[in-house]
Symmetry: C2
Subunit: 434 residues, 2 copies
Amino acid sequence: MLTNFKKHIEENFSFLKGKKNLIACSGGVDSVVLTHLTKNLNLEIALAHCNFSLRGEESDGDEQFVTAVAEKLDIPIFTETFDTHKYADEQKVSTQMAARTLRYNWFEEVLSNFNYDYLLTAHHLDDDLETFFINLSRGTGLNGLTGIPKKNHKVVRPLLNFSREEIMNYAEANKLKWREDSTNQKTDYLRNKLRLEVIPYFKETNENILKNFKKTQDNLIASQNLIDDYISLVYKLVISKKSDSYHLNIQKLQELPHTDELLYELLKDFGFPEWNDVSNLLDAQTGKQVLSKTHRLLKNRDELILSEVVKNPKEEEYLVPEEGISAPIKLEINQSIAIGETEKNTIYLDAEKLNFPLKLRRWKKGDSFKPFGMSGSKKLSKFFKDEKLSATEKEKIWVLVDKNKVVWIVGKRMDDSYKVTDKTEKIVEITYVS
Amino acid sequence: MLTNFKKHIEENFSFLKGKKNLIACSGGVDSVVLTHLTKNLNLEIALAHCNFSLRGEESDGDEQFVTAVAEKLDIPIFTETFDTHKYADEQKVSTQMAARTLRYNWFEEVLSNFNYDYLLTAHHLDDDLETFFINLSRGTGLNGLTGIPKKNHKVVRPLLNFSREEIMNYAEANKLKWREDSTNQKTDYLRNKLRLEVIPYFKETNENILKNFKKTQDNLIASQNLIDDYISLVYKLVISKKSDSYHLNIQKLQELPHTDELLYELLKDFGFPEWNDVSNLLDAQTGKQVLSKTHRLLKNRDELILSEVVKNPKEEEYLVPEEGISAPIKLEINQSIAIGETEKNTIYLDAEKLNFPLKLRRWKKGDSFKPFGMSGSKKLSKFFKDEKLSATEKEKIWVLVDKNKVVWIVGKRMDDSYKVTDKTEKIVEITYVS
């Protein structure tokens, strides 16, 4: 195996040479073998071991064992002890998820504080096959079948080409010692069930099953690469970036075959909860929108506008197209042939003076406007004081702005500059439907 | 299930209405249920049953049973008896392959002779999951994981959305009778092993496994569709068709990312046995070529030329680029500064008179040329007679032609029109390396 591993590193991971590599070492057979193999190749390595305090003395025993391995091989070691149960309770996540987060955060710290270049983990081909089945069991797509990446930024997995059996054989042939980590096997029901009951029978169907699986996965990765290339091309064709938003040209997208599938590939990473809502937006009225936790997708005439949702509500901003919007508040915008009855919630403006799309946002200190019917300018803070608004009422105020100039304090008062005059040729009526 | 089936037909198979549908009916529960469901929907159906004579009385019993079903439901039935073992021996194929070929050939006949529009088969979702695992076990790619097509030309599979359990429940609830077909279960070791040992355990990992599998497969089909769209686009960009060959522009292909993967997608259907040979052709010398049973791929300067291998050797034709070719015979072509020693196997020609690529082909009746040193024209048949060539010798003769005009009877005599004269500015030397 050492020969194969050496060849594998030369061909696929030669970038590890001359770099400082940190090995995630639990003390299990996989990470112990990875430690010995990389040491044998004279790569510069150190070990990093997490003690999750989940199995009392057993956990401490693992830590002592890994420390002894490091001493024997004369390589540096970093260890850290976590109160995983406490963290899981605090963060309201599963123990497994807590361990995962703690582990990767700490690895990140060590990499950065001690100038290590790469983190090496001991995932192997059987892990990969198990993950394939886990994703298949839950329902997945091409991406869920292409496997754990060999390299993902700083995380490198040089054992992915090797089977559990090869690793075990190497450990036994070289009389290596390791610790049996019972945690994963006990807590991960699904992986365990696949490992012990499904995959062994599946392996009996073909003696080259792992080799064939490797080949299959390489083919699937090739397919994924082609899709990624195609999507880059489609992206250039249909999407244009403007300051803080992305504009998708609907007509151009619809001219391509499999529009829905393309839309999905373009937008899948933005976490929109109901895919049908996104897909329906293509044929929806202007002003309709779909929200995810992080992003907003707005239908605006012949385009979909993707923008980030700003976490701080004070910084929320919504584009308001000529046809109005339905969220976060409903504004109906129509052309009008005459000025109707002016109310708090309906205003009439000179269309020529407006540059759509307008923006809807919270008011800010420093905002000022020329109250309708007055000739002088007034700070909004002063206006609110005069109107005797409470702090809570002030917080709920929306302002409609045109290039950051206040057009309307929604439901309160419009700016005098936008009013209809004798020279007005086209009138716009905006109604706030509360 | 009848309600779901009706809805499924309305949504996805409404084209079956008003058409004549033939149901492949073995007498097993799947095809019996399909027969009853389609009959209940008042689709126009007939049954087609193959008796493969593989299980003696049991086979005949199946036939009698299906005939009785047809009579009871008052629908037409077609039956045919095959001597499958004899056919398998004659064709040197497995019994399973023989049965498959006989079945589909006969279905094709019935469809055509009795004007049936579609052949309906009773493949269901569990069959699909088994096929997924079979292909995975053997090693596959995206295409091997996207499942049996719902519709493939005239073959339609309306039960693919339903599980074995649903079909079984319908049969039992409606007190249907069927025959247990033991053949498949006994002969198809791999499918049987998966069905009985692997998949039952896999199903225990998630109660929605079949639903999730369906979802996964729909996602994979979407991915495959995007790849097909991309390949159509790349095809238009890099391939041009000329009379009887396809010319692939290497530079344009290499400007795209994942060149090898694209080349594979473009050429995967032509059966080239060694993919590396095809891939290496991109950087090979002009004249190198790769052959499959049906096609030839020739490197010619900055292009790969794909053409069909003509089965009739008399119609074989090979493009000969300026740099010569290595198969079917080796012709070295070089520029020469002077006329060297003329031999049977080496000729010198006036470059200006040649239009590359030339063609190499067998001689035909009617071919004539002006033998070197003579002023008159002569039929090749006459030339061969004068040279006293045997029939076998004549069969082995290659001629090099320029726009169908004979330049050289290879290894025998060149045409006088191409010879080097006082006016020749560039000399070409062609050597036949025998």
